[in-house]
């Protein structure tokens, strides 16, 4: 497993370590900024007539957008040759998980006062909650194993296999978005469409790679 490991921990085009050192902290703090704004809005009564619902919607949307952003990193490298997004992929994924978890907590704790019977009934009986919950559950092992140490511990192939679950989680999240809508499907379908394009890019890329270069260099395998 060690040879493949090299390919993850070092980017294909070596960049001086200090050159992009601002990117990671910038993305993490920037990703948390909407949370700070939301807390400020809640405090100053700017979340509207139904603040709990507004907070649910905002965290749900943030989770979705950040999840899509984390899934865009690889297609950006494949199509445009950009290598820098891969440096923030982990941060984007963890931010998405943070917002998804908060979103779930708001619903179960504030909305339903942690009533176990309501929570169980919701998860079992309401398809849009079932798939949302499944998406959060799927994201837990990914968040836990997101560190470099974990990649090493699991071995890259196994780690990569595990992290393919993110496609399933994103698909479920898109379904959740569609199913929670009363009527106006334009916004959820837009996000589902973006997810579709991102996944299609990978599929096309992988097919082309298989055909064109049967023995692809290990360096280009980090997906």
């Amino acid at each position: 497993m060690t040879p493949q490991l090299e390919s993850v921990s070092k980017p294909s085009k070596p960049i001086k370590a200090s050159k992009l050192s601002w990117l990671g902290p910038g993305v993490v703090l920037g990703g948390l900024l909407p949370l700070v704004v939301m807390i400020w809005d809640a405090y100053s009564g700017l979340l509207g007539a139904n603040p709990v619902q507004r907070a649910t919607h905002q965290t749900g949307l943030l989770a979705t957008i950040l999840l899509l952003a984390s899934l865009a990193c690889t297609p950006l490298r494949q199509t445009l040759g950009w290598t820098w997004p891969a440096r923030v992929r982990k941060a984007l994924g963890l931010l998405a998980f943070t917002y998804a978890f908060l979103h779930m907590l708001i619903y179960f704790v504030i909305d339903h006062g942690l009533s176990l019977s309501v929570i169980v009934e919701d998860i079992l009986k309401r398809p849009f909650i079932t798939v949302g919950f499944a998406a959060v559950v799927l994201m837990i092992p990914l968040a836990i194993t997101s560190s470099k140490g974990m990649v090493r511990k699991l071995g890259f192939v196994r780690w990569q296999g595990l992290h393919r679950l993110v496609y399933l989680a994103a698909g479920l999240a898109a379904l959740h978005f569609i199913w929670q809508t009363k009527k106006d499907l334009r916004e959820p379908l837009l996000y589902a469409g973006i997810l579709g394009v991102l996944l299609l890019t990978r599929v096309v890329w992988n097919l082309r790679k298989k055909k064109g270069r049967p023995a692809a260099a290990p360096a280009s395998r980090s997906s």
């Binding site: 200090s18 910038g26 990703g31 504030i110």
Partner: protein
């Protein structure tokens, strides 16, 4: 990240390397801040919503009075919330949009066509129609099918008075309401989410029930556009979508009207739409609701708490099937 040079050298950099280091640090600080603002700003732009301002409407109503037999004594929802949190798809599907976009609706001059199974069909000006009846307050609970509720001080007249004035023929069994259909005034109609015009209806005995109400105002003020000016229906024991807004036509019919939400999704919305905590929406529970202004949920009551008054209208009916 130990980019900060030691104290004494910050006054007078000793060599090239230190100057470079300091420049690098400054550059990083600027780039980090830029990224924070760029990432945080775009995420906020995509997900945060500005709240709409409270409208100013002309006072038409009278002074405070003792509660009437149909009024609830529960705490009233704030005027701000009532007028900025609206489902009025003619102005967009987001609840903040009607308050921001309904300015294009022109509510004067306005006429209402009264026709169908009536002795003499007629078109009447809204101000004339309003002058036919003494206007009164009604403080009602309002329960939305989405699981939230408000307490609203409506101002208007009982629907029964209007129906009687229309002089129904013996064939009249239902009443149908039609809302304005004009995409120039109602830009949301261009978005094709529902079929326009919005149509609602009641059985005639429901319409004659003293709780059924036609509102022209809220809290003694003329209805703000986003609340369905200049004339809207209020049926407090039914889900809020029955309360059709900006009505231009009222028709008595012999057959059950084909109502907008029931047409658009017959598995989820029915003609009756009586508030019923035991019959869940296919995708969410109706057992509880959030009263706007409160954090946690409260149980939903059968017929929205008006069971004593209206349950007898439905005796013998299977309310699970007739949802």
């Amino acid at each position: 990240m130990s980019h900060i040079p030691p104290e004494e050298s910050s006054l007078e950099p000793k060599n090239e390397a230190q100057t470079m280091q300091r420049r690098e640090f400054l550059k990083n600080a600027v780039l980090t801040t830029g990224t924070i603002v760029g990432v945080g700003g775009s995420l906020s732009l995509l997900t945060r919503q500005a709240s709409a301002a409270t409208p100013e409407a002309a006072l038409i109503g009278g002074a405070k009075r003792p509660l009437g037999p149909y009024d609830t004594s529960e705490a009233q929802t704030s005027y701000q919330s009532i007028t900025t949190y609206n489902n009025f798809y003619e102005f967009g599907t987001d609840k903040a949009e009607p308050a921001k976009r309904a300015g294009t609706l022109k509510t004067r001059p306005w006429t209402v066509l009264l026709d169908g199974e009536v002795k003499k069909p007629q078109r009447v000006d809204i101000d004339t129609l309003q002058s036919w009846f003494p206007l009164e307050d009604r403080i009602y609970r309002m329960r939305c099918v989405e699981g939230w509720s408000m307490v609203i001080p409506w101002f208007g007249f009982p629907l029964a008075a209007l129906v009687r004035r229309m002089q129904p023929t013996s064939k009249a069994k239902y009443i149908q309401f039609t809302a304005l259909n004009d995409p120039k005034q109602m830009p949301g109609q261009l978005e094709g989410v529902l079929e326009w015009p919005y149509v609602e209806g009641l059985r005639l005995d429901e319409a004659l029930h003293p709780l059924s109400f036609m509102a022209v105002g809220i809290g003694g003020r003329l209805l703000p556009n986003q609340n369905g000016a200049p004339l809207r229906l209020v049926v407090p024991w039914k889900y809020g979508f029955k309360g059709i807004k900006s009505i231009v036509r009222i028709t008595l019919t012999s057959t059950m009207p084909r109502t907008t939400w029931a047409l658009s999704n017959p598995g989820e919305y029915g003609f009756y739409a009586n508030v019923n905590p035991k019959v869940d929406h296919p995708r969410w529970s109706q057992a509880t609701e959030r009263r706007i202004g409160e954090l946690s949920r409260r149980p939903t009551l059968p017929f929205n708490g008006y069971a004593r008054e209206v349950a007898s209208l439905y005796s013998g009916m299977d309310l699970r099937r007739n949802f």
